[in-house]
Amino acid sequence: MTAIYKKEMRTYFTQMMGYVFLAFLLLLVGIWFAMVNVTGHNANFHNVLSQVTIFFFILLPILTMRLFSEETRQKTDQLIFTSPLTITGIVLGKFFAALSLFIIGTAITIILPAMLSLYGELPASQILGTYIGFVLLGACCIAVGVLISCLTENQIVAAVGTMGAIFTMFIIDAIALAMPISTFASLMFVALIIAAVVAVWYNSTRNILASVIVGAGGLAFSAGLYIANNLIFDGLIVRVLLWFSIFARFASFTRGILHLADIVYYISFAALLLYITVNILEKRRWR
């Protein structure tokens, strides 16, 4: 893991990407700092950070777009995947390299509230909370980028895909509210998910019987749940979509409140995506 981490960190700074990212991040933070804090005579630096999270969808793909896609394109994946490294180690090495660069950029911005503190009292707990939330939210977006990067060998596709995914998560609250909440719609939704699972299952095993069993099992399980407690299906679509709403949970951090639930949510969200990435890469080896 450390070997991959060290290599990725070095590549960020030999290939401009790292500088581009840092410049872009600091530019955004700087502009908002100038607008909100300097010209606005305002000590609320946490507002600057939460404004900048809007631009995560452009900012973070810069870090993640080439992580796996470039290895595939250069065929160096044949080196790292035939070396005695574990796939988990490779994925984590790359993830932490991107996260480190993001944290380095974020750490540099601490200069700005430090400057502000010379001229007055700062809402320290809110700023600190926002920093923590900022990094956690960034980690989730980076995990999305890592996952998408391993699906393609084209950096541009990886970048655009990641942009789309992060942007969708950004507006998912609005999408969720427009979704029907009736029990019938929820059942349809569950049926669609089961169909998708069966399709994936069939695609990877080519076993009709097993796929039918999986599908029937899923349907039976949901029917059982419906009979036992049909309230579970009320507004299910909205609840599922909101689970992906990583930006909604950021709000409590900006108020200086650290909910353990939110922190666990962010960490497990990133961990789940990385786990999926490992499995996608692992599957190439297994099938």
Binding site: T2, T11, K75, L79, T82, S83, L85, R285
Partner: protein, 361 residues
Amino acid sequence: MVYCARFLRKCPGVVNLIEVRNLTKVYGQHTAIDNISFTIDDGEIVGFLGPNGAGKTTTMNIMTGFIAATGGDVKISGVDIVAEPERAKANIGYLPDTPPVYGDMRISEYLNFVADIKKVRKGRKEAIEHVMKAVHIDGMSKRLIKNLSRGYKQRVGLAQAMLGDPKVIIMDEPTIGLDPKQIIDMREVIKNLSKKHTVILSSHILQEVSAVCDRVLIINRGKIVATGTPDSLSESLTKGAAQMQVRVKGQREQIQKALGEFSVIKDISMAAGLEQGTTDLLLRGEDSTDIREAIFRCMSKNNFPILLMKPNELTLEEIFLSLTDAAAQRGSVAGALPGGAAGLGAEPHLDEGRVSYDSDL
């Protein structure tokens, strides 16, 4: 010690260095590898020979754990590549067909990175210096890899495969894209490698394999069609076909008539020679009868000067064609074995990849 080693090798249950069993890989409808099995012993140089798309690269990618097989298994030093990938991969150095190098790294940075991922800790500096010397890139450690020529990238790729002193070094088309001098250099390097490592290489170039390998596996359409030493393969196919290539000054019809009087000479095919007024012949005696004297007597009696006469040994290329080309297998041996006469200068008729000669008798 030697006896001990021999004894161990014969013992059942003692593992081969590489054991491939019933390996199959299916891509959708296309079967890339069809139930391949072979074993490779310690210290061998084995060549995979086959046309493009025969399944050589797929086999190697599976053996190195890069992709998974649809069926069958691979054991490196007794360790299954799927069950314990990290332990099995530690025994392998792999040079894929495209050298897996990072253009933006210097050679020394790259080799250090490889040493990192291969967990070479103690004696790393010496190990890196050693592999650089072995592939003749010492003194270039500060060069940026993207500025290197194809041949040097290939060397860096090989240095990478050698690093960590793996038991097995697997090379996919190691000399592709190299100039003739580099190819000779590369062969030298591969021969040196075999002193310490077991080497597997693939190629569609026959001289390549026959120059370097102890044993050849000929692969076509995902199957092993033949296996043996380059010599034994050549022998088995030439058996009973002691052919002579002869170039004679004279008219074709007259020569044909003259040869008809000599019953020892059985199989005759001829074509107009490249030189003015000459005829090229491919002659064969019964079984492995020596017909050289008969040819001389026949020609001198009829006053046809013999300009050239040499035995037609099968090159690996012809073995290859006759084994892999289904059409050639169906045809006569002479039809499938044109290389000798081509060397004489006769114009073979190329008909959809098959080579045949005018055969009047």
